[in-house]
Symmetry: C2
Subunit: 430 residues, 2 copies
């Protein structure tokens, strides 16, 4: 990991650059898959599952008995961990349920209100394959269940025997998700966007995935279906000072670096000695990791940045807008107040980022690639739309009618003005 | 306007189709404009302003004295209407300001909270030209001001003399927006996304516009900047019964139809005689409208749909997911409870849709083209992102650490587990 010492502001932009992805060829491939699935439905989904997952599936739907019995196929320790995580995630998300606003009497006779209504069908994508992301099933399934979305379906890739990891099925059962489809990749996203004979089309698709999945979500979202957010490779920034524990920091940086070769981790500090100690710790911890090859590629995109003070550090962090941000300075509470752009923030020495990935209660589906400037992570709002309502009395329309007509006429929209005029006239007629 | 009587459900989908747009050629043109502006900055913006607006601009920024004096150039009646609308819009949006959630103690020693933080720079696009949409300046500027977004800029096209409509400048002054750029079209969106010498890049762009603006917003949102929503031609659905006033309904249908030739309006009713009466009223009111040519094209995409009962009506309305929905049946309160998919709902005979366009207090920037299935209209949330925070004590990590490590190892992410293990070990060492 490179140490960058006291960079000038003119160089910040290039230092904070994310690893670039080549999207052109990918877009063409994924568009092809989407068109096939939109046109040929289940048959196309089966063909791609054969091609990419190497398995010929009869039914795309996981048979209900398999879901019912999934609990017998995973160890008690994992069931207990899932149960514990579920309680914490549910308790934090329950507090976020959006409330109705109003009715507000904005003017005499004019009542306006806003009502959150759950999205009536949602599709949850859970990456699988070698390492099934069971935690994602929790992070998406729990808020969908709390919101009470009418139809909740889950798609996740099958293994070479055509099976879905039992821990994902066990979570589906706990959350009452009955329709689990053993379909992954761009074909899963296309199926949930356009619908097939067995997979229903939904109105919003959630979940992370590889570059095919992410590109497919982007493409279908242009004209068809909402998506949770533009997703991308995982990121972590750590803000630390001379008092911080180098071993803890190295373990956190490595935990994000192991996600994939295009992950990025950055340390921001004002302590020259800390950068050296972290570099040393990374070297020794990395050697022991099963995914050390992936992590070392990610570390090439990563930096230890030495800055002159905490003011500069927070300015640069906010410019970066990291997905995950750990603050472990001695004054971490004070610095946490200065966070403007970040997905999720972890405070103090005993708050590793992996706590939020699994079990503390916050959601782990977060904006990457600088999108934290403008996007929230998945939260209860993500499963609702907020509809406004208004009711105006005859008196109310007399009250605000003149203002409406004046403005409509200034915009040269006469029919807008007429809609008020004909009602006011009707009154004076009566 | 065609009357469709008792359609079978199998035909609903095609009856509810929106007018299709040909996007291919448009996308190429707009991509060209965006690349030029991203590459050549102000010079490109000036060239396009010459080409599309027919005016050679010196400064793209409206000079501050012009903003300060705008109030002297518009009639008092309009100033008073703007003031009244502003009070109502502000009072409804103030009630929507998102609140922090928590801290929630999800498990002993584990505190999680969520904090809404305003997006630090936003760009508001206000369509102009022949009919300047001053109401849009209110609908976007008021929530941006309430949220306290750090930088708020406004772009709107100049007239052939290079001037911006004084009512828009007057609103900018009332809202404290100092940077108003006389730039419109795709070049305005590109400038706000990529920044130029005079126009700063922002993190989120709001506002409606013609097909060039809409396409530009879609393109820049793919890799650069957030947008409020996928916008499209305006829509209105009206639900009415035998007791409803045909003249009122016709005036509402025409008020949306006059927006543009690709607007769509639909009446849903169980009253055969009402469809005839509304058809008659439309004929006579249309003849008197200045924008009757535009409206009559829009009416060709529009329908009066007769259904057997209110159950079917609400099912079809929710399937359509209209941007605007007026309910004027005698039991409108009861039916309003059944609304699942709509942007904004107008209840009762004295609540024309144009009230919400201007002055009742609700926002008029709403999801079109079926996006109301999954998207909210612009509301206070649109100007914030919600950042989660967590702080775990040493005890707290001991409490949930086992669950984290068990799940991380089930996902084969050893470094995630290590980040907990090294902290727990450190404790038992100590």
């Amino acid at each position: 990991m490179n140490i960058v010492r006291y960079p000038e502001k003119a160089h910040w932009q290039s230092l904070l650059k994310r690893p670039a992805l080549n999207q052109g060829a990918l877009e063409l491939t994924v568009k092809g898959i989407i068109e096939e699935v939109a046109g040929r439905g289940d048959a196309a989904v089966r063909d791609y599952t054969m091609e990419f997952d190497g398995v010929a599936l009869e039914s795309l739907l996981v048979p209900p008995p398999e879901i019912a019995l999934a609990g017998t196929r995973i160890p008690d320790s994992l069931k207990s961990a899932i149960g514990e995580a579920m309680v914490n995630i549910r308790s934090f998300h329950l507090k976020q349920v959006p409330e109705p606003v109003g009715p507000v009497v904005t003017a005499a006779g004019v009542r306006c209100w806003q009502k959150p209504v759950p999205i009536d069908s949602v599709g949850l994508y859970v990456p699988g394959g070698s390492a099934p992301l069971l935690s994602t099933a929790l992070m998406l399934g729990i808020p969908a269940q709390i919101a009470g979305c009418g139809e909740v379906i889950l798609a996740t890739p099958p293994d070479v025997d055509g099976n879905v990891n039992p821990s994902i099925l066990y979570i589906a059962r706990l959350l009452g998700i009955e329709k689990v489809f053993r379909v992954g990749g761009a074909q899963a996203i296309a199926a949930m966007a356009y619908g097939t004979e067995s997979i229903p089309a939904v109105h919003k698709i959630f979940g992370p995935g590889n570059q095919y999945v992410t590109m497919a979500k982007q493409i279908v979202s242009r004209d068809r279906v909402a998506i949770d957010m533009p997703a991308g490779p995982s990121e972590l920034a750590v803000v630390a000072d001379d008092t911080s524990d180098a071993a803890f920091i190295a373990s956190d940086l490595l935990s994000q670096a192991e996600h994939g070769p295009d992950s990025q981790v950055v340390l921001f500090t004002d302590s020259p000695s800390l950068t050296e100690r972290v570099q040393e710790e990374i070297r020794s911890q990395l050697a022991l990791l099963p995914r050390r090859e992936i992590a070392s590629i990610a570390l090439k995109n990563s930096r230890l940045i030495l800055l002159k003070d905490q003011l500069e550090i927070m300015e640069m962090v906010n410019r970066y807008a990291p997905e995950h941000l750990i603050i472990v300075t001695s004054n971490y509470t004070e610095l946490s107040e200065k966070v403007v752009n970040a997905g999720s923030v972890f405070l103090g020495p005993y708050t590793p980022e992996s706590a939020g990935d699994y079990a503390s209660g916050t959601n782990h589906t977060l904006p990457t690639n600088g999108w934290a400037h403008s996007h929230s992570g998945v939260n209860m709002d993500s499963f609702y739309k907020k509809i406004t309502f208004q009711e105006i009395s005859e008196y109310g329309l007399h009250n605000i009618g003149e203002a409406i007509m004046t403005m409509a006429e200034a915009e040269q929209l006469k029919a807008h003005s007429n809609a008020v005029a004909c009602r006011l006239k009707s009154k004076s007629d009566g």
